[in-house]
Structure formats: C-alpha cells, structure tokens
C-alpha cells in the first residue's frame, strides 16, 4: 500500500487504509473477511455483492448499526465493529440451531408454545431479543440538530437513462431531447469499464487474445466519449437510483444525499446482478460474482497479489474476471462449466498466462477454513467426478439476473423466465421492451435488464 493515509479503528485496533477505499475492502486488505454473522444460524458472512444489495457486510460504523461496509468509504478515526446478530443468546444458541435446525419444524416459532396463555407470553418475551440485527444508534450519532431540509430537484427531463453500460450508452446516443444519464460507477461505461481498463493494463497483456473483450472495451470508450461530447446529455456519475415512484419519478442518491428526477421517458438499462448458484455453503465469505469482483478489484483496489482465485462459469464475464484477477497479481484457476465454448485464442491466452483450466465442472460446495473460503468442490453435474480447487476467492460467472426492481416500480409487467436469468419484461424482444406504463410513462427496458446477456450485447457491437 503506497500511501496509507487513513487510520480506522476496527474493534479498537488501528488499521491503516488507502483513502477512497470502502471499509469492506480495507478490512479485506488486513485479512478480515468475516464481516458479520447470519441471524439464525450464525454463519460467517462477508462482502458478497460489493454494491449494497445483500447483507453480508452489515457493520456498526461510528455507532450506527447496519451500515453497509462495502459502500462506506473509510474515514480517519472511523469506528468499525462487527455486530453479532444473535448476541443476546450468544453464539452457542446459534450453533445449536445450526446443527439441529433441520430437526426443527420450519417456522417453529409460529407453532410452539401457543398455549397455555402464560407460556405463550413467556415465549414472546424470550424470543423478542433474538430478533433484530444491530442495536440502536449511539446517542452521539443522532443527538444534535438534524440537517435542515434541502430541495434537491434535478428537474424534469425529456429522457432519463438509468445505467451507463453498453445498452444505456446506446440508448443515450439514439435518443433525443434533454437527457440525464444516471450511473452508479465513477467512470462512464458501466460496471465493466474500470475492470476492462485494469485488465488491459495488466502484465502480459491479458486482453490480447480475448477479442470480444477488447472490442467491448473499445466500444465502451467510444460511446462514452460520444456521450461526453453530446450537448443534450447531462451525466450523473456515482449516483444510484434508490427508488421509483409512479408515474415518472426517480429517487436518486449521490455523495451529497437524496434527489429527485422526473422524465417523460425513462430507459431502464440497469444491467444485471450476480447470480452465484445454489450450491452448499455458497454464502461463505470469498464467494462472489464478477460484478462484485469488478467493484472490489476496481474501485476499491483490494490486494490480490499471490491470492488463489477460481473463476467458474462461462461467457465474457468469466474471461474478464480472470483477466482482471491476473492483472492484479492473483493465481487464476479457470473452471469452465459444461456450456462454456471458448475459442482457440481465448484458450491460448489462458495457456500463455499460466491459468489452470478445468473443463465441464459444476460447483457442488464451498469449503471453508476459519470462517472463509478455502476451496471449491466441483462435480460433473451427474454426481460423479468430484474435484477440488483450493482458493480464497471464487468468482461465480453464471447467468446474470436482470435488475428488475425499478422497472417493476415504474409499472412494467414482468414475467419469470429462467432462460433469461430471472424477471424480464413480458414480451421483450431481442433484449428490449418499449411501451407505455399503465400510469402513462414511456418506458424502455434495455440490455441485460431486459434479459440480454453480455454475449448478446457483444454480438450487437461486433461487426
């Protein structure tokens, strides 16, 4: 670490961190991967999505409970503590539950001790302290004058585009009228832009043989430059849509707080979420998806030198993750799932860079040591041919799950389609849906949010 300028206090212990890092990343760099324990079974949890979408990283920061350590930047003197969900009855009870839970009827707290009345009352008293995560904020955190109300109206736009990846940038360029582009990354080009840049700069030129990724990078840069030069476009970078209200309102958050924007037309191109797959103990700290890796290795720059990482799955995100990990100095094991069909140049790149290759495997279990990932166990999907790969990081590159919440809240009609990764707009064609919502908004859902894969999008941009 070149310039350790910030010192935080992790459970009383001073830790030097790089400014601009998130708390979760800073702790990773100091070897702390277990950031919380799950409420019922007390299972170790860590940063898993790195974008404020899960609960693996909830910590008590400066006396405030349930702060997402992956989204909280480090600050001088910051007090960071783990909050144990089951602290009242302690870990022994959680451990007991974890080992006997399968013997209890599900929802036993609904069914047991309903009578006699006195017992039911005692039971209510006994279980009340078990529920709940985190204690109330420290008085110092809330005492004092509240911030005064401020108007943060970003105004009304002809078009607001949510998401600045390949699909969002294309929508901005194809559109007209005053346009606002909202994206939660710092750089234009969406969540893969920074990862692509870092990978391209890696030792041995990891992207050299990965033509599709090079093409994607070029396209993102080109579109980003066009958007930057377009006079009708205003960009809101590092800005997240945190709620949608019908008919046409977006509630957004940036470093200065909440704001509201409205539009005649909204393009929802918010991409997809990582989908890790349902294998045993996939919730161990160290198991994550490609998008989490892009954040942690990109914006947060976690230290990956010499770490062993398995990258499982198929498609462009698998190769981008591997290239990024390689560029950051990690040892890469590339575990191809049975559907993966890499071209010869990609395989040659893997060989040239010394990545270990596994073919036709599916994850069966994550194996842990001291609460975090130590290895991934695979089988061939038929229960046979077990293999294990030691790793402290596993990047699961399955089918992305379309981000649907905002589109739904604006009034889109969604349908569950496992072949397209999750909830997608009913009647979407070729990764796109256009129409009017019942409340009269012109809505477009595009790109991965409409069920396209990155591979589909690449096909679109590759001549």
């Amino acid at each position: 670490m070149a310039d350790p300028a910030v010192t935080i206090l992790f459970e009383g212990q001073p830790l030097a961190c790089r400014p601009g890092q998130s708390v979760a990343a800073a702790l990773w760099d100091h070897g702390v991967k277990v950031l919380s324990h799950s409420p019922k079974y007390g299972r170790p949890r860590g940063a898993s999505c790195a974008r404020g979408h899960c609960m693996g990283c909830l910590m008590r920061i400066d006396g405030v409970p349930n702060v997402r350590a992956c989204n909280a930047p480090v600050r001088e003197g910051q007090r960071v503590e783990r909050q144990d969900a089951g602290a009242v009855y302690g870990r022994p009870m959680q451990a007991a539950l974890a080992n006997t839970g399968h013997l209890l009827p599900v929802g036993f707290y609904y069914k047991w001790f309903t009578k006699p009345t006195a017992v039911a009352k005692l039971f209510m008293r006994a279980i009340r302290p078990v529920a709940g995560i985190g204690r109330l904020p420290d008085e110092a955190a809330w005492r004092g004058a509240p911030p005064p109300p401020r108007s943060r109206d970003l105004g009304r736009w002809d078009t607001v585009v949510v998401g600045g990846g390949a699909a969002g940038l294309a929508a901005v360029l194809a559109g007209e009228g005053r346009t606002l582009l909202i994206d939660d990354s710092r750089l234009g080009g969406g969540q893969r832009r920074e990862a692509l840049d870092l990978a391209a700069a890696g030792e041995g030129d990891p992207l050299a043989g990965l033509h599709r990724l090079r093409r994607l990078r070029a396209v993102l840069h080109e579109r980003d430059a066009l958007v930057a030069a377009a006079p009708h476009v205003t960009r809101a970078a590092a800005t997240t849509v945190v709620g949608c209200y019908q008919p046409d309102m977006l509630l957004v958050r940036d470093a200065t707080g909440l704001a509201v924007a409205r539009a005649d037309r909204i393009v929802w191109a918010a991409g997809a979420l990582d989908q890790l797959g349902l294998f045993d103990d996939h919730d161990l700290p160290g198991v994550m998806g490609p998008r989490a890796l892009y954040r942690l290795a990109g914006r947060d720059g976690i230290d990956l030198r010499g770490r062993s990482a398995v990258v499982w799955g198929h498609g462009p995100d698998q190769w981008l993750s591997a290239a990024l990990l390689h560029a950051r100095g990690a040892q890469v094991v590339l575990a191809l799932d049975p559907t993966a069909a890499p071209d010869d140049d990609a395989l040659a790149t893997a060989g040239r860079l010394g990545w270990r290759l596994l073919h036709g495997v599916r994850p069966a279990a994550a194996l842990g040591r001291a609460g975090s990932l130590a290895a991934l166990r695979f089988d061939d999907g038929q229960g046979g041919a077990r293999r294990e790969a030691a790793c402290e990081l596993a990047v699961m590159c399955g089918r992305g799950k379309p981000v649907y919440d905002g589109a739904y809240q604006l009034g889109a009609d969604l349908v569950l389609d496992p072949l397209r990764g999750g909830y997608v707009p009913r009647g979407a064609v070729a990764g796109r849906w256009d129409g009017d919502t019942p409340a009269g908004l012109r809505l477009t859902i595009a790109g991965e949010s409409a069920g396209a894969t990155l591979a589909d999008l690449l096909q679109e941009v590759t001549p």
């Binding site: 349930n66 309903t114 039911a120 039971f123 509240p146």
Partner: protein, 394 residues
C-alpha cells in the same frame, strides 16, 4: 394450511363468506365452531391481501365510544388466548399504547376518554409529557401537551392471525378458495339464493359480506347502499433492530403511529389530510408515494430522534373502509333475508374482528339479540342514532 384453488367451487353451501381477511376467516371459524357445516370462504387474491395484510396490527382499547371500547376490550381478552385456540402464534405482545398530543385543546377529550375507559375497567391513565419518558426513554416530549397510556394494549402479526384462523377453520371443515372472485349475487323475493364466482356458481341461503374496502360495491350488488367511503393510507416498515420500543406510539394531533414488531422492525404510518379520498372503489390505488415516506420520516424523527440513523425498508398502501361515525357496520338489513355483513371498520378492523366475529356468529346461529351487534347495524344511520369515535388515527 393455505389451500391452493383446485377444482370447481361446491354447487351448494350453507353460507358463503366473501373475503379472506381477518373478518371473513374469523366469522367462518366462529360459525363452524358453533356447528355450522358446508361453509365456503371466497378470496379474490391471497389470504390477507386486503386491508388485513397491510395493517399495522395495533390493538387498543383507548376509544371514545362505549361500543368500540367494549368490543376492543373483549378482543384484547380474546387475543390473549387466541394463539392457543388457533394453534398458531399470533405474536400478540402487550407493550401498551402511548397516545400523545401536541394540541392543548385535545387534553379535555383525552381526560374524558380515560374516565369512560376506566368505567369499563380498561386500565388506561393520563400522563404528563415528562412521564412519557418512563415508557419511551428517547421520546422528544418538548412539544407534547399530554398523553394517555394503557399497558394492556398491544400489537399482533396480522398474517399469523389470518393463517391461524384459516387453519382452525379448515380443521373444522370450512372450505377456503383463494384466487376466486365473487362476480354476482343471486337474490329473489327478498332472499339470497346464491352466488356466481369466476370458478362456478354456489347455491346458498346465506351470504356474509366481509369484503373490507370492497364491501360497498358488494352490498350494491344486492341493492344495499352503504354510507362507507374508502380512504387510502400508507404505511412502512424499517430495518430490524434489537428491541428498543415497547409500546405503540400514536399521535392524535398529527396522525403518526409506530411500534416495533416482534421481528424488530418499526412498523408505522401517518395520516395525510391532503390524501384524495376515493369514493369509487374502482379507483383503488395502492401505489406508494415518496410524499408519504418524507412526511413519515419527518414526523418520526421529530418524535423519536434516534430514528434519524435507522432506515426505511419498504412502504405500501392499503384502504380504510370508513363509516360516518367511524364504527363498523354489523349484521343484516331488514327486508333481505340471508344477507349479513361485517365491514366499515374505519381503520381498526384488525383489533375488533375476533369479538365482532364471535358475537355476529352467535347472533346468526342463535338468532338471539346482541346489544352491541344490534347497535352497530346499518339501520343506525337512517335513525340518525350515531356518535362518532374521535380517536381514529393513521
């Protein structure tokens, strides 16, 4: 426990109950408990999808009219052993209700209400603002003028109660059809003869309207005009934290209410004087507004500043079915045999349901008069015999 719709509805039933909310299910259960057979409950969506699943789960006895106090009082007694009776936890917890006001002019009616409640043996008491701190330590009492408190009031988890009634009713032979909608009521010569649903027809001599906010349009199907109107109310839930708040806190000056659920979440809402009061049920609108979230956040952080650093997780809206005197409409109507209703709960039908259902079921099966049910009949509006309850909040 929660049956899926399979096969057609039966061709005949001794009674058809419309509405799979707490009232419909409690009445079905109470009728079955009193020996009625061949009962059918129709629910257009899932159990609890109406007001019940959207409500705050608050149960209080601090009312200003005697009928409301008595029904609520009996309901509290019922909730105390309901879990045992139904065989499922209700998560009923008597953390009390703290009713506060910032308005000097309300103190007198609060004192009067306490006196009336005490005369009914409800153990409520009047508190000076400072005394509220013994009950909710971090409450900002600087603007408060007074409060009343009753430890015996509390909250329960609405879905659990609904499932409990459904389970107990099913065990007694009641058939519940979810995702089944009543489309039409057949009546002939002043008596109910049957219903048409989207899954077939049922011949029945008895129809019980427990359709909550839809009850007005259902009553209209048989020519009964209800004076009810439907009001939208929004509500929210916060992240969950370790226990910190015992009672339900409720302000009769600005309409905010909030409590902490057994899961540790703050559950709360606030009334909105500028909310359009939809008169036609076809205009039901249960979408959420940012306006609510902001108004609630301001009121909550004003009353209880530690909430500044806690988070709102989810907001939703439901409908109150409001009568001119804020009291329910129970029982039948003269001239239409086989029609009964339990509706118009005006935002407190969760807490009143157990006892209203039990009394109404007894009234229906025995035909014996019931002082409370009969005083809450539809006819009271025509007679002009109404006294509004002043403490409707939310």
């Amino acid at each position: 426990m929660i049956p899926l719709p399979e096969g057609p509805v039966p061709a005949t039933a001794d009674a058809v109950i419309v509405g799979g909310g707490i009232n419909g299910l409690a009445i079905a259960y109470e009728l079955a408990r009193r020996g009625m057979k061949h009962l059918v409950v129709l629910e257009r969506d899932y159990l609890g999808s109406g007001s019940t699943g959207r409500c705050g789960g608050g149960i209080r006895q601090q009312w200003t009219t005697e009928e409301n106090i008595r029904l609520a009082q009996e309901s509290v007694a019922a909730f105390e052993h309901l879990a045992g009776e139904l065989g499922l936890q209700t998560f009923f917890r008597q953390g009390g209700y703290l009713m506060v006001t910032e308005d000097e002019s309300q103190l007198e009616s609060m004192r009067k209400a306490v006196a009336l409640q005490n005369s009914c043996q409800v153990p409520s008491r009047f508190l000076e603002p400072r005394e509220c701190l013994d009950i909710v330590p971090q409450l900002d009492v600087s603007r408060l003028k007074g409060a009343t408190f009753c430890q015996k009031d509390g909250t329960a988890y609405p879905f659990s109660v609904v499932w409990g009634y459904a389970k107990a009713a099913t065990r007694r032979g009641v058939r519940i059809f979810i995702r089944t909608r009543l489309l039409e009521v057949k009546h002939d010569g002043g008596r109910i003869t049957g219903v048409v649903t989207d899954r077939g027809e049922i011949a029945t001599p008895l129809l019980i309207n427990c359709a909550g906010p839809w009850s007005r349009s259902l009553a209209a199907m048989v020519g009964v005009q209800l004076p009810n109107r439907q009001e939208r109310h929004e509500i929210m839930v916060s992240e969950s934290c370790k226990p910190f708040l015992d009672p339900m806190v409720i302000s009769i000056s600005n309409g905010i209410y909030f409590s902490q659920s057994m899961r540790g979440e703050i559950v709360g809402g606030i009334g909105d004087p500028d909310e359009p009061h939809w008169d036609r049920p076809v205009q039901f609108d249960t979408r959420s507004q940012l306006r609510f979230a902001v108004r609630f956040a301001r009121a909550l952080t004003d009353y209880w500043p530690p909430a500044r650093k806690l988070r709102l997780m989810r907001q939703w809206a439901g409908m109150y079915d409001v009568t001119p005197d804020h009291r329910p409409i129970l029982g039948g109507v003269p001239g239409l045999e086989g029609y009964q209703m339990a509706c118009g709960y005006s935002g407190h039908g969760f807490m009143l349901a157990p006892m209203a259902a039990s009394r109404l079921a007894k009234r229906i099966t025995t035909g014996e008069p019931d002082g409370i049910i009969d005083s809450l009949s539809l006819a009271r509006f025509a007679r002009g015999d109404i006294e509004a309850d002043a403490f409707v909040v939310g």
